[in-house]
């Protein structure tokens, strides 16, 4: 029996894939929005691994 594109199983998988895509898209938007918000406010931005962290120096406020 040939597999039809509109098989129930495909429909369910398609729905799940669309859900994952939407969730990932929403997460990207939230993270981007957070980045913009934190940059706008001038909050400290520094990496955590294998890099110089200004907040750990004795001159940091």
């Amino acid at each position: 029996m040939a597999l039809g594109r509109d098989h129930e199983l495909h429909r369910r998988r398609g729905g799940r894939n669309a859900g994952v895509a939407l969730a990932l898209g929403a997460l990207i938007l939230v993270v981007f929005g957070l980045t913009v918000a934190k940059v706008e406010r001038g909050e400290p931005i520094e990496a955590y691994d294998h890099t110089f962290r200004p907040s750990l120096t004795e001159y940091a406020e």
Partner: protein, 316 residues
Amino acid sequence: MSDIRAEEQATPEAGLSDFVALLKPRVMSLVVFTALVGVVVAPSGVHPMVAFAALVFIALGAGASGALNMWWDSDIDTVMKRTQRRPVPQGRVAPGEALGFGLALSGLSVVMLGLAANWAAAALLAFTIFFYIVIYSMWLKRTTPQNIVIGGAAGAFPPVVGWVAVTGGLALEPVLMFALIFMWTPPHFWALALFMRDAQGRDDYGKAGVPMLTVTHGRRVTRAHILAYTLALVPVALGAGLTGIGGPLYMAVAVVVNALFVLGAVRIWRRDEETAIADRFAAEKRFFRLSLLYLFVHFGAFLAEAMLAPFGLGGW
């Protein structure tokens, strides 16, 4: 017959709606609402985007708890009328899938809340998930009739997490919001336990072997407990109105709703089983519906006080 058909019959594939159901959307909506109130009434001016992100990740944490709870409780969910249609008992989602989904969402929500707001809020969210799954679902729910009382703390944390996400610390106000939900939970669930029975009149929780108060101490004692907890809830609700998050509007609403709630509890306490069965638990169902309104109205009033404050109308 194709292989796909054979596979479909063995383990039906879950659709998107099944994974959404794992998140317990109705519980999640209550969590989002109470956490939103915690965020809005907190005295701090975080960026709206940070507040929004905090709410998203608190909601995700609540969803993760729901999925983990459905994984752990799949055996009793199969027995109980109220939970039989959930995706795991129906066989649409395998218990392992629910576990993986819940764990992944737990990790994501906690880490993202820490990065978006602060690590105190993230730690509190992690503790909330731990409390709901390990303390309530795995331990208390199946061992003590006090399950609902102590387990209610898990549902009481969201406004505190919201407050801490904004301020980075604790205060009297979030503790009172916690106490309000904590004291509200037992009468709410015991009213539900009174009328959740199958066609033969067997208690839903009794069938599943969950030591709900109705099962261990009987329905008469449960009715008395509903009244006792409702009376203990009133000073908490009115006391919260005297703090920085309350105000005249909140107090007016709280006095009316608490009077109605006590009246409903007295009515439940005075009824016997014959009367309740005769009118199909009308008073118990009415009290349960009122309990939903109770929480919504109190937190709505906190929200209204905070929204009116910039116009000089909210607060004392």
